[in-house]
Amino acid sequence: GVDCGADSRMCCRQEFFVDFKEIGWEDWIIQPEGYHMNYCSGLCPLHMAGIPGLAASFHTAVLNRIKAASAAAAVDSCCVPTQRRPLSLLYYDRDSNIVKTDIPDMIVDSCGCT
């Protein structure tokens, strides 16, 4: 996957860190100190569609080749997460119990074109 730079226009991963102290949540979330709410953004023109290794299953790659071949279906594809991991949280619930949970698929590690 590609991380976005200042003037990236093509599909890439935009880093975005939410500091729990900044949003006033540090009193009930014990760990971690923030959440990497990265997201995918940018263009996926045809020549990037289905490049192997970028969110392309074999079926998608073949389908994109067919689309790319027929100019009539000249549509862009989408910039989506290709790898994600859980967000581990340790927090106080409403009864001041200590709860630890791993929320699946909350952190985007890489992006790619479908």
């Binding site: 949003i23 862009d76 581990s88 200590i98 630890k100 929320i103 699946p104």
Partner: protein
């Protein structure tokens, strides 16, 4: 999209940087609360004393009840477990310290509350009650531990478990209460009451007050129920 242009995917005009940041922070809050099934952020908690927290974690570790992850994270020392590639089902570990209830000359009541959000959406995998006997009397002290559950139909309490112990010396006792806690998870207000009964005149074998570092606690592990997936051909 660059400033002043429109998003090529959805056509919405690009937000000014400040407005975009505010929108992303609001989205992050909504996303985390939704995944924790919380209607809003909890009010300011009354955290347990640091002594009782660390004592509880050491006791759980000695018994192997806490995964190192919880020990590490709750001790607020290391980073979070970044490599968790879980089963895809959300798992919870809960640590709940007792609230003092009513007491008489020969019995003490303790209450444990569990969050409705977790109770409604998950099944208990394991739950253990830890009791520390601070000062058993002369010789061995008979103690009856009863697990009570509020009766949805009325003010009574239903006994869901009973254990008779002979306390010989100061130290921890761990009791498996998984079935009792699971039966609570079907209630609107999942609250477990533990009654400790001793012979008349023996006095409570528990530590004297809730801020004591060896105060009773429950540790439980739960797993979200599998989401009902509708398959359509």
């Amino acid at each position: 999209a660059a400033k002043g242009e429109r998003c090529p995917a959805c056509g919405v005009a690009a937000l000014a940087p400040g407005a975009q940041r505010d929108a992303l922070l609001a989205l992050a809050k909504r996303s985390i609360l939704a995944k924790l099934r919380l209607p809003g952020r909890p009010s300011v908690p009354q955290p347990p004393s640091r002594g009782s927290l660390l004592t509880a974690l050491r006791t759980m570790l000695r018994d192997g009840a806490a995964t190192p992850g919880m020990l590490r994270d709750a001790a607020a020392t290391a980073g979070m477990s970044q490599d968790g590639r879980g089963t895809g089902l959300q798992e919870y570990e809960l640590l709940s310290f007792a609230e003092s209830g009513s007491s008489t000359s020969h019995s003490v009541h303790l209450h444990f509350r569990f969050s409705q959000e977790v109770a409604r959406s998950s099944d208990i995998q394991q739950a253990t009650l830890y009791l520390f006997w601070a000062s058993p009397g002369r010789g061995s002290q008979p103690v009856t531990v009863r697990l009570l559950r509020a009766d949805p139909a009325g003010p009574n309490l239903t006994v869901t478990g009973e254990t008779r112990l002979e306390v010989q010396r100061p130290g921890w006792t761990a009791l498996d209460i998984g079935a009792a806690v699971q039966s609570l998870f079907t209630q609107d207000t999942p609250r477990l009451t533990v009654q400790l009964e001793v012979p008349e005149g023996w006095g409570s074998p528990l530590p004297p007050h809730p801020s004591h570092s060896h105060w009773p606690f429950v540790v439980a592990r739960a797993q979200a129920r599998t989401p009902h997936r509708l398959r359509r051909r």
